[in-house]
């Protein structure tokens, strides 16, 4: 990009990134201390905090949040590391590797809904084993999902986060040269899992620390997953706060704001505790690493992780398979393993609704992601030109929106949207989506963009002096695969957004995700199944396109290009093979 005044643009973008974060924080912080001009409250008091700390619901919610938010990342990390250690370089594992991107692309709400259909007392699992094994003719009176301990929520979070961690680990492996380490250690007589435990995992951890923090923050604050499959009364803190924010009596807002600040503190506290625990754990195992034992009983711990991890991955698949089954079901009585009769009526019936939801979803996702791609290119170009490799403001600023809890923060921004009259508009929804899409697009584009061999562009500008044109048709065109992948990632992030759509949309715009989550627990399984299916379909389709298009693009373009060109007659025919 032939940019001038790089510093100015850097600061401008940095401020643009920081402003919504600051406003969101201020919009939460002030009401937490009872300062809220829109409601005529101008006096700073601690009333909200006092009532928060006296509410028993706060403590029970907090307990659930801590349990789900700490246990899920630990188990997800354990499973991901186990599967990596076990499967790395195995041919079978490469198939799993190829499936990771589409799994990641599927919005977590869709998987949670599938899981709900699978595990609930009247779910598929029970149907498959009834009545021949269980003897049930009707759904048992058990609580299997939305259990009061949050177990099903933990399972759903693991199902989403384990593939993500695995994906990140695979991408980071080249940095530690795992293949050579394995070779060297194997010649020393170490067992495979022991090598991972003693040598590779300690090297890998510092590289993936940031993604782990993202997982922790997500697990502690997720709203949509918890609404679908989490415990109800009491629910996790994020859901409780969500209810308080939506309470008709606006005074609840103060307590909710105080609770949101508490949630931020909880995230900081848990991440701090996690790092302390990691330090402690490293000390504890340091001596064991160099004790010379070529294998150890703790290897079985990894082995168990592999088994559980594979079970989790396959349940994710089964959860997805069940979505199209429900959307095509006419009649499916309880103990039957499959529907008694099939139909397209459900889809036809829901067609107008599905069309509206899909078009809302797609417009928001495409516009937000295209803007995010352009902004990422601009940011990366200024980063490249500024040549400061360390601590560029973008590199940490970009993480802030993903680490802060959406709940609270977004309600703080909501006040601004109302003030500037953007509340309930598409612009506002796209703006909020952009905040969450941009970090992922930026991070995925960063590596390939900065690695681009700039000589091509310099040569192009020497050959014909049209810098802007060359930037798009040489540099960006050569980066097509990376840009399309970044687009697919951003697109799937946007499709999965629940709270941003809900809050900025103000009930005027619904997407597949908001509607599916709203109806998941209560609604008609046939319709919810269709919504969740579409919700899963679009990102997977875009991922497939991003993967399939670039290698064929040039070939296809060239095969039609010259034939439609006016002057093509001037070229001898045999040269157009």
């Amino acid at each position: 990009m032939p940019l001038k005044s790089v510093r100015f643009i850097t600061w401008l973008v940095a401020i643009l990134l920081a402003i919504p974060v600051l406003i969101g924080l201020i919009g939460t912080l002030l009401p937490a201390f009872h300062y809220f001009p829109p409601l005529g409250e101008y006096h700073v008091t601690f009333a909200a905090w006092i009532s928060l700390l006296h509410s028993s619901e706060f403590y029970s919610s907090l307990r659930l949040t801590l349990a789900t938010g700490i246990i899920s990342p630990i188990i997800a990390l354990w499973m991901a590391l186990s599967i990596l250690a076990w499967g790395y370089q195995r041919p079978f594992f490469q198939k799993i590797e190829n499936l990771l991107a589409p799994i990641l692309a599927i919005p977590h709400a869709a998987i949670a809904i599938g899981l709900l259909f699978l595990l609930s007392p009247s779910g598929w699992l029970m149907r498959l084993f009834s009545p021949w094994l269980t003897g049930f003719d009707r759904p048992p009176n058990w609580i299997t999902v939305q259990d009061p301990y949050g177990l099903s929520l933990i399972f759903a979070i693991i199902m989403k986060e384990m593939p993500y961690l695995l994906f990140i680990m695979l991408a980071s492996l080249h940095a530690i040269d795992a293949r050579k380490t394995l070779e060297v250690c194997q010649t020393l007589g170490y067992k495979r899992l022991t090598i991972w435990r003693k040598v590779l995992i300690p090297q890998l951890y510092p590289i993936i620390r940031m993604p782990i923090f993202i997982v922790i923050a997500f697990s502690l604050t997720v709203v949509d997953l918890a609404l679908v499959i989490g415990p109800n009364t009491p629910s996790t803190l994020a859901v409780t706060l969500f209810r308080w924010f939506n309470d008709p009596s606006l005074s609840k807002r103060f307590i909710a704001s105080a609770g949101s600040i508490a949630l931020v503190l909880v995230i900081a506290f848990v991440i701090f505790g996690w790092e302390m625990a990691h330090c402690f754990f490293t000390r504890l195992t340091k001596a064991e690493r160099s004790n010379g034992k070529r294998s150890g009983p703790t290897d079985y711990f990894l082995r168990l992780g592999v088994v559980l991890g594979l079970i989790t991955l396959s349940s994710a698949f089964v959860s997805l398979v069940i979505l199209p089954i429900w959307s095509l079901t006419r009649r499916w009585r309880f103990p039957d393993a499959l529907p008694a009769s099939w139909t397209l009526d459900n889809v036809q019936h829901a067609y107008p609704l599905l069309l509206e939801l899909s078009s809302n979803t797609l417009i928001i996702a495409i516009v937000a992601t295209v803007i995010a791609c352009l902004m990422s290119a601009l940011m990366l170009e200024t980063k490249r030109l500024s040549k400061t490799t360390k601590n560029h403001p973008f590199d940490w600023l970009i993480y802030v929106p993903i680490l802060l809890p959406q709940i609270g923060f977004l309600f703080g921004l909501h006040i601004l949207l109302i003030q500037i009259n953007l509340n309930g508009t598409l612009v506002a929804i796209i703006g909020l989506h952009l905040m969450y899409v941009l970090p992922y697009v930026y991070l995925s584009l960063k590596g390939p963009y900065l690695a681009y061999q700039e000589d091509y562009l310099v040569q192009a500008n020497r050959l014909n002096n049209r810098p802007w044109r060359n930037y798009f048709f040489i540099k960006l065109a050569m980066l097509k695969p990376a840009i399309l992948t970044a687009f697919a990632i951003g697109f799937s992030v946007s499709i999965a957004q629940y709270l941003p759509t809900l809050i900025a949309g103000d009930g005027r715009y619904s997407t597949l995700t908001t509607e599916a989550v709203a109806q998941a627990a209560s609604g008609d399984r046939k319709q919810v199944g269709s919504m969740a299916l579409l919700q899963a379909f679009f990102p997977v389709f875009i991922f497939w396109l991003a993967h399939a298009l670039p290698p064929r693009w040039t070939k296809w373009r060239l095969s039609i290009y010259l034939r439609i060109k006016k002057c093509y007659k001037q070229i001898p025919k045999q040269s157009l093979k």
Partner: protein, 218 residues
């Protein structure tokens, strides 16, 4: 091809230093039309930096002084894009997402009309001897063919002078001879001054012009 005739490249008193360490002092070169002057020397002496200075893309950190005249017009103060310079590097840098024909027609100045561009590009293709590869992508060409296409592409942009930065070093020894002859032939036809930087004495000899040896600084 332009046959204006008066192109002469003169480099006056060129000096290059890196952090007080003198690399090149008072280099004077005159190159006439259709002539290739070679510059030889060990690596790290600043040969590529000389080309960077001439093309206007010298990397920062280096201190270069001197004057460059093209037909008695000073060009060392001009921006890179106003110098009308052609540069050929070790890698041919053909754009992988474009066909050979598109690569060639990319370099033709915008004022040339659509159908004429195609014809010019096709003529260049014929000179390389790969008429049948118009719609192929660069990766489908051999290394020697790529080097020749890269030269043709540079010449199509109608440069006033040409810089060659070890363009033969990545080629097979067997191919090198053919490509060298092709390059010299084309430069003579284009009738522009050319400066070749190399560390292979064979390259310099094949160009049939004078050769300047740069010695390592004391």
């Amino acid at each position: 091809m332009q046959l204006t005739g008066e192109n002469v490249l003169i480099i006056k008193n060129f000096s290059l230093s890196l952090a007080n360490k003198k690399l090149i002092t008072d280099l004077n070169v005159t190159i006439e039309n259709g002539q290739v002057v070679s510059i030889m020397g060990p690596s790290g002496i600043g040969k590529s930096s000389l080309l960077g200075f001439l093309s206007g893309t010298l990397s920062s950190g280096l201190n270069a002084q001197g004057e460059v005249f093209l037909n008695d017009v000073a060009i060392h103060n001009k921006k890179a894009q106003d110098r009308r310079v052609g540069l050929l590097q070790q890698t041919p840098l053909l754009f992988p997402h474009m066909s050979i024909l598109e690569n060639l027609s990319f370099a033709i100045p915008a004022r040339v009309k659509k159908c004429d561009r195609l014809e010019l590009a096709f003529e260049a293709l014929e000179k390389v001897g790969i008429k049948d590869k118009a719609n192929a992508t660069p990766e489908q060409l051999s290394g020697g063919q790529q080097a020749r296409v890269a030269l043709q592409r540079t010449l199509l942009s109608e440069p006033k002078f040409l810089l060659l930065d070890e363009p033969f070093s990545k080629l097979d020894p067997a191919l090198r001879r053919d490509v060298r002859a092709f390059v010299l032939d084309e430069i003579r036809k284009a009738n522009i001054p050319a400066l070749l930087v190399t560390h292979d004495a064979e390259d310099a000899k094949a160009m049939e012009g004078s050769c300047i040896n740069l010695d390592a600084p004391e």
